[in-house]
């Protein structure tokens, strides 16, 4: 036993030492490492316009009504005329065009409601301006619980039972008030207010009574969140398809009328395919085409990658490969083998041993340890 432990120590120590230099630089924020792809850069950006502009705006305008947009645009043109803003960052969710979005509406056009339109501008160091517009959308998302028939069916069984228990209890509360001489309409009015107004003195009292009644009828309301969590865990490798694209326009000055034709196009695609209960295949393509000098859209780079996972949401092994192809340099080939896991509900870590080859140069060994503090949710697939 002791001999075995010493062997493990001798095996692990060099690996840790090998990885240590990378550990300090590989730590990253949640912005740069997306779940599913790990350190490989194949995630579709939420705001492709900001990505192609090369900005990370801290203050993004997210209008919640079409009126907000109309007023903002109107006010801007009244104040600034036809000038390009220096640092605009706007994200528009298509759901704002349908403020009365029911679950049925959502599921009828899910891809549309899972889209984001981004618009951004910036002033370049040489005084010229750049403007970009981008769109990202999830064409397929089998991990979406709002369209998961198991989750919907589960709620359809427990929901009516909870509602029946709640009706019994609120009737009992109103009846008790009626017995004390309070008219029924006043009683229900008080219950109505108390259930939704957290500052009402009876808010906690009535909710506790309703919860007790639900429990007394043998209904476990917590089973809703428990079932949701179990589904999330099982859907870590659900099939997903996300795409995004963006176009960038330049202007030699701040005048909108001087904006030139498209000078850069960026695109992103990531597809995750479920391989049984424990496997997932990820495919990713992204790249951009841009102007060089007077040449229109003649410089390109395209990245193609694939990763296969095997395991569960908490711990899985992976093998991946990536090709980076550029118009004016040799392609780069990279491959990794590793494991990835979540710990303590929020810490995500990935260990990998990789090789990298640039055309005729010799193969470079690229081990990596990546730590990422997630937001408490377990990592899902390539979002």
């Amino acid at each position: 036993m002791i001999k075995k432990m010493i062997m493990i120590k001798y095996l692990i120590t060099p690996i840790i030492w090998l990885m240590f230099p990378i550990l300090s630089t590989a730590q990253s924020s949640t912005d740069s490492i997306k779940a599913g792809w790990g350190v490989l850069n194949f995630a579709v950006p939420e705001s492709p316009a900001f990505k192609i502009l090369g900005v990370s705006p801290s203050d993004i305008m997210r209008p919640t009504t079409t009126r907000d947009i109309a007023v903002s645009v109107g006010n801007y043109f009244l104040t600034n005329g036809g000038a390009i803003p220096k640092d605009l960052a706007v994200e528009i969710a298509p759901s704002l065009f349908n403020p009365k979005l029911s679950l049925a509406d959502y599921n009828a056009n899910k891809w549309w409601y899972n889209s984001t339109i981004s618009i951004g501008t910036k002033q370049n160091p040489d005084g010229s301006y750049a403007a970009a517009v981008g769109v990202s959308t999830k064409i397929i998302d089998k991990a979406d619980l709002r369209s998961n028939s198991s989750m919907i069916s589960f709620d359809d069984v427990i929901g009516p039972k909870i509602n029946a228990a709640m009706t019994d209890e609120t009737n009992a509360i109103a009846f008790e008030m009626f017995r004390q001489g309070i008219p029924y309409d006043t009683a229900f009015n008080r219950v109505s207010r108390a259930l939704t107004d957290t500052s009402d003195k009876n808010y906690k009292v009535y909710h506790t009574k309703i919860d007790s009644c639900i429990l007394a009828k043998g209904i476990n309301a917590n089973s809703i969140s428990q079932y949701r969590d179990s589904l999330k865990n099982a859907l870590w490798n659900a099939t997903v398809l996300e795409i995004g694209f963006a176009s960038l326009f330049n202007s030699q000055d701040s005048l909108i009328k001087n904006i030139s034709s498209i000078s850069q196009i960026g695109f992103w695609l990531t597809y995750g395919h479920r391989l049984g209960k424990k496997g997932q295949l990820l495919l990713g393509v992204n790249g951009n085409i841009r102007d060089t000098g007077a040449q229109k859209l003649n410089d390109y780079n395209i990245n193609v990658g694939a990763r296969i996972y095997y395991g569960g949401n908490d711990l899985k092994a992976f093998v991946d490969g990536e090709v980076i192809s550029q118009s004016y340099s040799e392609p780069i080939y990279q491959s990794d083998l590793g494991i990835e896991g979540t710990f303590f509900g929020g810490l995500w870590a990935s260990f990998s041993l990789g090789i990298k080859k640039v055309d005729n140069q010799s193969i470079v060994f690229t081990p990596a340890l990546t730590l990422n503090l997630a937001n408490g949710e377990k990592k899902s697939n390539s979002k």
């Binding site: 709002r146 709640m166 029924y184 917590n222």
Partner: protein, 120 residues
């Protein structure tokens, strides 16, 4: 408790549920007199029954409409929910729709709306 103004000489009164947010809504509809006696009771959900026939308008005047709402969000906690139940006569919406709104929880949210049928 807002009044629901009916035309007692007009048609049957129906109650139409509409949903303004992507959650599952479950509800019980009760019409009660001023002693708490149940004149009408039925249940429905956003995925099944969204239209209720409450009866003749002249029989409803003076009674209360009480709706218990249970809201479950398949996506979980922290999202806005909103729905309405509107009394209709001859295809026309009457005033004071019963509106429930709030924030979803990990399990279920509860709301109760009430109104009194009156006539002009």
């Amino acid at each position: 408790m807002a009044d629901i103004l009916l035309d007692p000489n007009s048609d049957q009164v129906t109650l139409n549920f509409t949903f303004n947010s992507p959650q599952q809504f479950y509800y019980s509809v009760q019409v009660l007199d001023n002693t708490g006696k149940q004149i009408f009771h039925d249940v429905g959900s956003s995925g099944t029954k969204t239209l209720f026939t409450l009866g003749a308008a002249n029989n409803l005047v003076g009674l209360m409409l009480v709706i218990n709402w249970t809201i479950i969000d398949p996506a979980g906690a922290g999202n806005n929910y909103s729905a309405n139940a509107t009394a209709m006569q001859s295809g026309q919406a009457k005033n004071s729709p019963q509106s429930c709104s709030g924030i979803t929880t990990d399990t279920h949210a509860a709301s109760l709306t009430a109104g009194k049928f009156t006539s002009n």
